[in-house]
Amino acid sequence: MAVKLAGCAVLHHVQLGQIDNRTNVAQVPFEIKVSETGVNTQEISALSRAAKNEVGNTARNAADIVSMFQIGPRTGDPIYDEHYAEKVLYLIHEKCPSGRVTGLVSIRETRKYPVISGEIVKITGYCMKDRKPAAEI
């Protein structure tokens, strides 16, 4: 039960970009995470079946109807806002206004809980900044 409530992490896709590891610039790490709640109607249906009363039956029927309208290839659980990850380009520039970004890692993952899930897009990287000249002694 404790394990179930803690949530399982499922990695769907990961990709690395070019890494500029030259030493003449300082690299400031940043992370962007956008997410949306996914709902698993099949799990709602299964849980409702276990209730074995009228409310449970109605909920199960409703979940089964919804499931019929949610057919197609899935990564994680279905979500209800498809635009949540569209702003990552702006968010990267917000974190690194100079646009000197390197070592980008794009991750698509799910944090799975009973019935619901967190459908996550995570981008990590480094913003390159010129090193300040060492203070004269």
Binding site: H12, H13, Q15, G17, Q18, E36, V39, E54, V55, T58, A59, N61, A62, A63, I65, V66, M68, F69, Q70, I71, G72, P73, R74, T75, G76, D77, P78, I79, Y80, D81, E82, Y84, A85, E86, V88, L89, Y90, I92, H93, P97, S98, G99, R100, V101, T102, L104, S106, R108, E119, V121, I123, M128
Partner: protein, 106 residues
């Protein structure tokens, strides 16, 4: 009453579920601040009934659209999003590509 409210809830979410499969970010080379260019995008869709689709050319269309929006510039920091809008025994595959169009390399 409970049954009606459940069914209402069910119908209210019908036909608007999606799945994001992948969000990929390209390198940001040439490096450029967002003010030095403009964000352009290309998007394309493909409707599928029970998976009966015979090509994936919609992706190429999205990329062609992106390039057409930036005919003379360099496209940097390209984000590619693949998703599916789920439906009643059918679905719509979607591709969205966005990038920063920089006319003069920095």
């Amino acid at each position: 009453m409970m049954r009606v409210s459940f069914l209402f809830l069910a119908l209210s979410v019908v036909g608007c579920a999606h799945s994001i499969h992948q969000v990929q970010t390209s390198d940001f080379i040439p490096y450029a601040p967002i003010e030095s260019g403009r964000v352009v995008k290309g998007q394309a869709e493909q409707f599928a009934v029970l998976g009966f689709v015979f090509d994936t050319n919609y992706l190429n269309q999205a990329v062609d659209q992106l390039m057409a929006a930036c005919p003379n510039g360099t496209l940097t920091g390209i984000t590619t999003q693949m998703s599916t809008s789920l439906g009643f025994f059918s679905w719509t595959n979607k591709a969205l590509v966005q990038g920063l169009c920089v006319d003069h390399q920095n």
